[in-house]
């Protein structure tokens, strides 16, 4: 019964996003911008899958996913900017010339080639996650301590990215790209293609995560979440498992970031400030943690709500978000996906109570 439901849901999801939306665009009902906006939400959903793996399944609240997301975005942004600079015949990107820098910094060099950029976009976040994870997990930092330290780390990185000396564009970030792999980014067909690629990557990522969570590895992760000390007593190397899932989550965030960049055309450090990093966690909490479908739907729903609310009543978006946070945490522990279960439970509980009193 349940698997049947699931399959129906997948078919509906794919039918809606892979057929209905592009068809709507092709028949002229939807603008290409709507398509592109949904493409961006898919990128967030990919990152949310990573957060669900590490938080929902393993119980580690990592607040530095936004940082990994930005690392992916920045890598691709550097590549696109270099391509544009070379095509224009300039030696350096504009913002560097304004900052009076004479030679291209060494860490920009590999981003001339697309292949290297992609590899580095995955390698750098993975390496960061590995080092951070190694240091933190080895000293058995967990729970709240982990959340605070990773949050502080993101804050520190945010501060570094804000600086002009790091040659990453400072507060303004990197922007103003024109093409990717020779295709113009402003063309509608390219936007549609990016949308479809994002959707495909989201589906692949979902499938991978599904396999991970249903494998033995995934079972150990959930065991760690439920009782870490018992898992370690039974001779599992808890640190290795945590480290592995942390790296996987970082990679997912980076992939999301890489796809996100060409669709928005700008990346600024604002994507990884304290607010952004908590918000990313909130997508999963709202959707339902420990539930991959919940992560995807949470990310899509919150961002969709955001775009509606900010255009309809800009002042109250933070109120809505704040209330959503509080209410979800207080009453809907399992998030949006668990809404039905929660209500059913409440219902049967009250019925039980009333039947007892009578």
């Amino acid at each position: 019964m349940k698997t049947k439901n699931n399959i129906l849901l997948y078919i509906l999801f794919i039918a809606f996003f892979a057929i209905l939306l592009p068809a709507g665009y092709l028949t002229g009902l939807l603008s290409v911008n709507t398509i592109s906006v949904w493409g961006r939400y898919f990128c967030f959903a990919i990152a949310a899958l990573g957060i669900d793996l590490i938080w929902g399944y393993t119980g580690i609240l990592s607040m530095c996913q936004a940082f990994f997301f930005c690392l992916g975005s920045y890598g691709i942004a550097m590549h696109l900017l270099l391509k544009k600079t070379v095509a224009a015949g300039a030696a350096l990107p504009d913002f560097m010339a304004w900052n009076k820098i004479e030679t291209l910094p060494f860490f920009w060099q590999p981003f001339h080639s697309f292949g290297w950029s992609v590899i580095l976009c995955l390698l750098i976040p993975a390496a960061f996650a590995f080092i951070i994870g190694l240091v933190l997990f080895r000293s058995r930092i967990k729970g709240v301590y982990m959340a605070i330290i990773t949050q502080a780390l993101t804050l520190a990185m945010w501060l570094i990215f804000l600086r002009n000396e790091t040659n990453l564009g400072g507060t303004n970030g990197l922007t103003d790209f024109n093409s990717i792999l020779g295709y113009s980014l402003s063309a509608s067909s390219v936007k549609l293609a990016l949308y479809l690629v994002s959707l495909a990557v989201l589906c692949t990522a979902y499938y991978c995560c599904y396999r991970i969570t249903h494998s033995k590895f995934g079972k150990v992760l959930q065991a760690i979440r439920d009782s870490e000390s018992r898992v370690s007593y039974t001779a599992y190397k808890v640190v290795d498992y945590k480290l592995a899932v942390f790296v996987v989550a970082a990679l997912l965030a980076a992939v999301g970031g890489m796809l996100y960049l060409p669709q928005t055309g700008i990346i600024t450090p604002g994507r990884m400030d304290v607010k952004a990093s908590v918000e990313m966690v909130m997508w999963v909490a709202l959707g339902g943690r420990g539930n991959l479908k919940g992560a995807v739907i949470g990310a899509l729903l919150v961002n969709f709500l955001y775009s509606i609310c900010t255009s309809l009543f800009p002042d109250s978006w933070l109120f809505i978000l704040g209330f959503l946070f509080v209410i979800t945490v207080l009453y809907f522990d399992k998030g949006f996906m668990g809404l039905g279960d929660t209500i059913r439970q409440k219902f049967s509980a009250t019925r039980l109570k009333t039947s007892q009193t009578h």
Partner: protein, 548 residues
């Protein structure tokens, strides 16, 4: 020394008749200036006055230069630099004497600008005064202007300049201006002496006087090799000595800034640490209680000045201190009742829920108060304690440090000397066991939340002394204060104090080596390494309660 004194006296005697002769011509030129028969006459009169440099005419020339020359009943007057609250100005006569005008009952005469007749002097005429502007600015009423004028005097000034400078210094009352003025005087004399001993004496005077510019001045003198090699070396050595002393004082200043930053962190983290220790709640909205405290202070100020109509008083701030504690505390108590109560022992969920609360609070503050407001620092806490010319400890920071010490003391007494404190500590150690022993854990938790939020509100009130009040001010401190809690060990008073001060010091000291941002990164890396060594903070629980 005696001979120079004698020479000065003789100079003065010789100059006396000259002065009085100048006085006569000055009155003629002044009259011509105010009622000129032709524009050329006025232009000439200003030129002559500029050339004569008679101190008695300086107020008049200054008024012309500042475009503040007015006529009141055919008499030349000028106005104060700032109007009174009703938009009226005090008036000063200009020539032959420079005094405050009073009305018949002896009170200062206050007039609107419209009651005065403006005297327009063309720009070309005013430009004639540019060369002697530093000279007459020496007699300005504004100490800052005088300081600037002193610093503009070149050591190559002629004897007339020297004379004016001495006259100005004789009536100088402001310490900063006096220091700059003395330096100008010594420098001028230093370049006029011809014996090594006297030159050294002047170099000593400059070093002892120690204005900001002294090392540069001494180095310039040493480089010019003005008198001989010996004085040059002497001046260079003095300059190095001054710079070394300055560096040392700078270090003390950094130490002090670190102490004050640390004490703010302690003040914020204190409440956070108690609450976290007791209830296992990560209160991300804690920074917002600080913001509430700051806005309470602002509102108290507005109520005092607008509603009660008591302007110019420090009283509001001392009322704001308990107010901010109570308001923030009560809101904290309400929050505990509505939200936090349902989240005990679910730390990660509480983090998200309180983050939501903080979003709501920030947006509410933004809608109510706009983006930027500032609280006026009370007069009593403005300025600073001048330990030495180059080391000033601002009173507001001293006050913050004193307040933190007081609050730490208060918290200590509350935790370790009262029944409530005993209950709080026991609930912190083991919630269920305490409940079994008849402690109302819920009541204890709400009181703790009240106190914790109140402490944050108090911190917010203190922060208005050193910064603006903005809706998201809490967020700048929240991550830092969480780091303090984590490093110090949860629920540990001593740990919180030690790590708060430590992080404060570290931030300020590393800021003096690296830039602020890298200092922060450095601290973070340090904390991460520290946690390798002590994962449960500075003062971990020992024994069985340490295991979860």
């Amino acid at each position: 020394m005696n001979t120079s004194l004698l020479r000065m006296l003789m100079c003065c005697l010789l100059l006396l008749p000259l002065f009085s002769a100048g006085q006569d011509s000055a009155s003629i030129y002044t009259a011509q200036l105010l009622q000129p028969p032709a524009d050329s006459v006025r232009s000439q009169a200003i030129g002559r006055l500029a050339a004569l440099r008679i101190p008695a005419t300086f107020p008049l020339l200054m008024a012309i230069n500042d475009k503040k020359l007015y006529l009141l009943d055919q008499k030349a007057v000028t106005i104060d630099s700032h109007p009174s609250s009703e938009g009226t100005y005090r008036l000063y006569s200009l020539y032959p004497d420079n005094t405050l005008l009073t009305n018949s009952s002896g009170q200062p005469l206050l007039l609107q600008l419209s009651a005065l007749k403006t005297v327009d002097i063309p720009r070309a005429d005013r430009l004639q005064l540019a060369s002697i502007a530093p000279l007459f600015n020496l007699f300005s009423n504004d100490p800052q202007k005088r300081t600037l004028a002193y610093s503009q005097l070149k050591h190559t000034g002629d004897s007339a300049t020297l004379r004016t400078l001495k006259a100005a210094l004789a009536r100088e009352s402001n310490t900063d201006a006096l220091r700059t003025g003395k330096e100008a005087l010594y420098a001028m004399q230093l370049y006029n002496v011809s014996t090594t001993a006297i030159a050294k004496a002047y170099i000593d005077s400059i070093a002892d006087n120690w204005s900001d510019n002294a090392p540069v001045l001494l180095r310039d003198y040493a480089r010019s090799g003005f008198l001989n090699q010996e004085t040059a070396q002497y001046a260079a050595a003095k300059a190095v000595g001054l710079e070394k002393r300055y560096d040392n004082l700078q270090r003390v200043q950094h130490f002090f800034s670190g102490l004050s930053l640390g004490s703010i962190l302690v003040l914020i983290a204190l409440g956070l640490s108690i609450v976290y220790g007791l209830a296992g709640i990560i209160n991300m909205a804690h920074g917002e209680f600080m913001m509430i405290g700051a806005y309470t202070t602002y509102c108290t100020q507005v109520i005092f000045t607008k509603a009660l109509g008591i302007p110019q008083t420090d009283l509001f701030f001392f009322f704001a201190l308990p107010f901010s504690f109570l308001v923030a505390g009560s809101l904290g108590w309400v929050l505990e009742r509505l939200v936090i109560r349902h989240l005990y022992a679910k730390p990660l969920e509480s983090l998200l829920a309180t983050w939501g609360v903080s979003l709501i609070l920030i947006q509410t503050a933004r809608l109510l108060f706009g983006d930027l407001t500032a609280v006026k620092t009370p007069q009593l806490l403005a300025g600073g304690w001048q330990v030495s010319p180059h080391l000033t400890l601002p009173y507001n920071r001293l006050f913050i440090i004193a307040l933190s010490i007081l609050m730490v003391l208060f918290t200590y007494l509350m935790l370790y000397r009262t029944r409530l404190g005993l209950q709080i500590r026991s609930v912190t150690q083991n919630r269920q066991m305490s409940a079994c022993l008849g402690i109302e854990t819920r009541r204890v938790a709400s009181i703790t939340f009240f106190i914790g939020s109140g402490l944050a509100g108090l911190a917010g009130c203190a922060i208005t002394l050193i910064g603006n009040v903005v809706p998201d001010m809490g967020q700048t401190y929240i991550v830092d204060s969480f780091l303090v809690v984590v490093t110090g060990g949860v629920g540990k008073l001593a740990g919180t104090i030690l790590s708060g001060l430590g992080i404060g010091f570290f931030t300020k000291i590393s800021e003096s080596f690296f830039q602020a941002v890298y200092g922060k990164v450095f601290i973070l890396v340090f904390i991460m390494l520290f946690m390798q060594y002590k994962p449960k903070g500075l003062f971990p629980d020992k024994g069985r309660i340490a295991e979860d």
